[in-house]
Symmetry: C2
Subunit: 198 residues, 2 copies
């Protein structure tokens, strides 16, 4: 299913076509495609090239998938059970060089995950990131040490059938994508003052 | 100048070709291109579609550019003075719906900025994100209110001539792009245990 952005200015096809469905198909992701997704993340930029991203990859049927699924809140469990891949991104909170706090670890992990979403679109795959999971449970189940923080879980797979979703989710699935206008987001001179360009 | 990723698995051309130079050309960015960059950010995903990103756009010659430049640390001032656009991303720290802390604001702002980097590549432009700037100065100069946090500044422009850079920067500019191996980043079973796939 396609839900291209209703964009006012031209943007690249990957950004335009990417969206976050819940209706995943019960169909595996090829290993070579999983590799390309993570490879795209690998080449993402980061503050002083720290690369603060670590990933826990669960493939449906393996214990990591089960544990990742177990960390999700109920709402997400309702739909993510079909996703063939679950991927948790874990941020390294301190710089490797000097142990000082890396204030950019979450920001940079977000960038890496964005590269995954767009590579997924490139491969005809879909992603849906979730903040609704238990950090505590993840930390316990995967023995995540101090200094590393679980940030998000991503479902990855092929598109399925929206009719498999509960009614409330199906409505959202079929709704158009909504965004604020650029004039609400882009300021110049001072914060809150719209840029004259938009 | 091209510095494609030395990737082990195929990735899309935008992720492959994107890199962060310092040698910008003294040449403006067309307004329609600036619009496309911000439009790509606009369609980025975010937790409960909060869209916590706000941007301050400086165009060389205007007061916002001067103020953004003024927030940079000395090292960045040495090269960013040629960039025709400076863009600060400011994260909204609380959810608009209920005022509660949005733990994903930095992560989601990172995603939006990643979309800008890739749209820039799509347009033949280059970006370089900087963590080296003064949050305090930015807050003061742009009167950024409580609840909003300056996260990063991005230089945007056309590629220039590496010979214009100081020697130390020129070396970095010409060096190949380095990344950790996937086996250092992708775990399964427990944190730190390499995935058998990589």
């Amino acid at each position: 299913m396609k839900k291209p952005a209703d964009n006012n200015y031209p943007i690249n096809e990957l950004s335009r076509e990417r969206w976050s469905p819940r209706a995943f198909a019960d169909k595996p992701v090829e290993t070579r495609h999983a590799a390309s997704l993570l490879e795209a993340a690998r080449w993402s930029p980061s503050a002083i090239n720290e690369q603060p991203w670590r990933f826990i990859l669960g493939i449906k049927g393996d214990s990591s998938w089960e544990k990742l699924f177990d960390t999700l809140i109920g709402w997400n469990k309702q739909w993510a059970d079909r996703a063939p891949l679950l991927l948790m991104v874990v941020g390294k909170e301190n710089y490797s060089s000097n142990g000082k706090p890396n204030n950019f670890h979450a920001y940079d992990c977000g960038q890496a995950m964005a590269h995954i979403t767009l590579e997924a679109t490139n491969l005809g795959l879909f992603t849906h990131q979730m903040g609704g999971f238990s950090v505590e449970k993840a930390t316990e189940l995967f023995q995540i040490p101090d200094g590393y923080k679980p940030l998000a879980v991503m479902a990855i797979g092929h598109y399925g059938d929206p009719d498999t979703l509960p009614e409330e989710m199906k409505e959202r699935e079929l709704a158009s994508r909504e965004r604020k206008e650029l004039k609400e987001l882009i300021f110049s001179g001072k914060f809150g003052e719209p840029s004259p360009l938009f």
